[in-house]
Amino acid sequence: MFSKFKQILSLELQDLNEYKGDLFIYTFTPFILTLVLMVVWLSVLDFSSGNNAEKSYIVSYFFFQLIVARLVGAWHAPYLGEKIRQGDVSKYLLKPASFIWYDIAENIVEKIWKITFSLPLYIIIGYFLRRNLFISWENILPFLVSLIGAMIIYFLIEHLIGLSAFWLSETGAIDSYNEVFFFITSGKLFPLSYVTKLIPLGVINILPYKYMLGFPLDVLLGKTTGQTLWSDFGMQFVWVVGLILLYKVVWSKGLQKYGGYGG
């Protein structure tokens, strides 16, 4: 199994190299939004006379968000939807390897590529912000576990949206709803501890988006500890298991609907 996956990884990496120009441009776009958000929130803190600890938290939160968002991200729903619509899934279905491994491999190589090419920028930005950057070293292990959970949830939600193309001719609408919810409740636009007055914490805790970004970030910065850490881990685990089960059902039902068009 591992040799099969290794070969798929190698092929996906070579395939990715054919699009290095596009990829290079995509690599740097997330920096703009995240750095702007950091500046906006620092201005808000200035306006409300926030203390230095809070400023350091904001700086660290958005700086590490740049890295964590990249590590957990997935973006293959539209491509997967198009493959299903055009009948291009057939070539994968005929081979003795599970289809999902191709998307997992593509996701991994794209992340490695983007992280590698972003590294100089991370170092430069990190150098300028070094006085305000901190992490909770004792939370490193829980952070790594939460990061893996976040990757799985992110990937599976994206995958499930792509698989909806078995029933829908366009997956874009679902994708855009997903994006809106992600922006509001994941901690992408603001640290989740800041928004409990806008959105009830119960809602944020029950949706999967917090466990895709805000939760690992707050674990890394030592904001989530003790009882909350365990209950959040519990909820993240429930989402991971729930989404794996849902994926199995959707994939099996979807194949029964598959038309294999073209050819």
Binding site: Q7, D15, S90, G262
Partner: protein
Amino acid sequence: MSIIEVNHLKKYYRVHKKTEGFKGSIMSVFNRKYYDVKAVNDVSFQIEEGELVGFIGPNGAGKTTTLKCLSGLLYPSEGKVSVLGYTPNERKHEYLKKIALVMGQKNQLWWDLPAIESFNLNKILYEVPESHYKKTLGELVELLNVQDTLNIQVRKLSLGQRMKCELIAALIHSPKVLFLDEPTIGLDVVMQQNLRQFIKGYNRKYKATIILTSHYMQDVEELCKRVIVINNGLILYDGPLEDIIKKYATHKLVSVIFHAHVSKEKLAELGEVKEYNFPKATLSIPLDKSNMVAVKLLQDFPTSDLNIEEENINDIIAEFFKKS
């Protein structure tokens, strides 16, 4: 037990029926109508090990849909399909390792990478031993004459070059059952001939069971003793190709070379003039009159050479469809 068993296979697609134009588009939002397209409608047949069967029929007859059901890409709406004792739509890896489907009009290679990368991937996925891989690849590359194209991106290959590479990718693991959907599409005449020879050889060497669909009747004529004729999702005929030829070949083609000019009108009195470009002419003559016309051409016309041939297989099949 047969290698392939298909019993009452049905594959229906639910299709949205939209009325023309803007009004139709708006109406379909409120009152969406569906109907079933019967792509395959109650098809049954058995194929024994080592058989090479031609699957023929016009566009939209249900040939490709049947092959897709046999290879496990599609779930049957009804009926039972068994290949090598497996149920194809369960897509067990053990099953997929024993079959291959080549679709002439669908790319299965990695589009942006050279074909050799797809071959290497297949070697690992199908768990082909290194020595067997090298031997098979070497043979196929030489036979199909693609030494110079292996390291060129697939998207930059011509249709013919790509088809050859598609075939190599499908055969790397030496499948026991091969589904070929228009494998000679886009190939030149010489390469079509090479490929036919190759398919025949593969069938003999590996005792492989092959189902072939093709619009080139020459493929079917040269390769398949047995044909299954399908139209509108129904099997119209299943049996030896020569029986169809005997039953539906109503004419013979008489080719003549003249040493002096003959008017086309005079020739038309003998039969249908298919082609006349002095000094050559080809006439289509009803079977019972072909000998008599040949004698007449030799005695009463300035004929220097004459040849009687069987009717073109395409015309025979067209006649078959007309009468079915």
